[in-house]
Amino acid sequence: METKPKLYYFDGRGIMESIRWLLAAAGVEFEEEFLETREQYEKLQKDGRLIFEQVPLVEIDGMSLTQSRAILSYLAAKYNLYGKDLKEKLRIDMYTDGTLDLMLMIIQAVFKSPKEKEESYALAVKRAKTRYFPAFEKILKGHGEDFLVGNQLSWADIQLLEAILMVEELSAPVLSDFPLLQAFKTRISNIPTIKKFLQPGSQRKPPPDGHYVEVVKKVLKW
């Protein structure tokens, strides 16, 4: 029997959240170890599990994987969320890379000064409305299917839902000009594994707060 994947990260969203989403959507149970002290982090380094001294770290199938895109690609392939051929995989890579760029703007903002943080958030909302969401609305309109790629659920759909919810937390009406994305959001949210993940008590993490920022800075000595 396979052991569960184990996630090593802070008790918060950060760059690990996309990995939690993907595992949850795939219906895969996973364990988490939360970094709270510098000592825990140094032990991971000393044990040689962090090739570039960085988390996220996911232990799965006998590997200590770091670098979130490497982890996400592996999980997408393993759990059949990466399309059926090379061209579909390519489209999924393009779409997820775009949504990751958008989410990174928001994820990294929390460590900035209050003024810079607000500017970053405003820019993220603007980019969502003028660059990213129009692109995905166009894709859905183009083929009229329920999912972004190949008429079946893929990593691209899961990632886009995560991004939509993240931007809505900053600006609730952000989908007002995008009817197909609104329908998409409802549809993907109702997939049983994802619906479960969206309920209280799941391993989904809340938006970052001051405490989260403090812990990260302490552990990474920023």
Partner: protein, 221 residues
């Protein structure tokens, strides 16, 4: 017969250089269309060629690809530079992402405001010497093979060798303490396709100079 891939970018390294290296290493001939003015970028945006309104963009196999990582993954898969199975691909991805993190700093360095350059250079040198180069040296030492993963050339080797050349331009003694990295670089540089790419007259771009930086600023402002 399929046409050659066409790369759309400004005439400089920027984010496109890793794509040039990988295509060249794979022995794939490609064409380039250089953006010279803001209008060139506007035209590409207006005709719907750029999914997220950004370059790099590569026309290949009837598609217009954007997002550098997606482009590199596709080329690696198509030309068998991506390992033999899922697990090798995960390790290759992990190594490539590490290179990408440092390479991004290096490629962006010429385009930084003058006041920020000293600090950036110090960070690049520190990260290369203390984080990234030791990690890859350790990988090569651990298995004693000629390439990073699976005992054969992959995109991770090509990307790392590109990084080694670029860091050395900024810090001439950067490889002094890393004999296995030096050996990897020599080995990869001697592959016929890479050797050709390293010669003058190839499509490899020189360090982004002041003129190149000005041009990019104009296009992307």
């Amino acid at each position: 017969m399929a046409g050659k891939p066409v790369l759309h970018y400004f005439d400089g390294r920027g984010r496109m250089e890793p794509v040039r290296w990988l295509l060249a290493a794979a022995g794939v001939e490609f064409e380039e269309k250089f953006l010279k003015t803001r209008d060139d970028l506007a035209r590409l945006r207006n005709d719907g060629s750029l999914m997220f309104q950004q370059v790099p963009m590569v026309e290949i196999d009837g598609m217009k690809l954007v997002q550098t990582k997606a482009i590199l993954n596709y080329i690696a898969s198509k030309y068998n530079l991506y390992g033999k199975d899922m697990k090798e691909r995960a390790i290759i991805d992990m190594y490539a992402e590490g290179v990408a993190d440092l390479e991004l700093m290096v490629l962006y360095f010429p385009h930084m405001p003058p006041g920020e350059k000293d600090a950036a250079l110090a960070t690049i040198k520190d990260k290369a010497q203390n984080r990234y180069f030791p990690a890859y040296e350790k990988v090569l030492k651990s298995h004693g093979q000629d390439y990073l993963v699976g005992n054969r050339l992959s995109r991770a080797d090509v990307y790392l060798v590109e990084l080694l050349y670029h860091v050395e331009e900024l810090d001439p003694s950067a490889l002094a303490n890393f004999p296995l990295l030096k050996a990897l670089r020599t080995r990869v540089s001697n592959l016929p396709t890479v050797k050709k790419f390293l010669q003058p007259g190839s499509q490899r771009k020189p360090f982004d100079d002041a003129e190149c930086v000005e041009s990019a600023k104009k296009i992307f402002s």
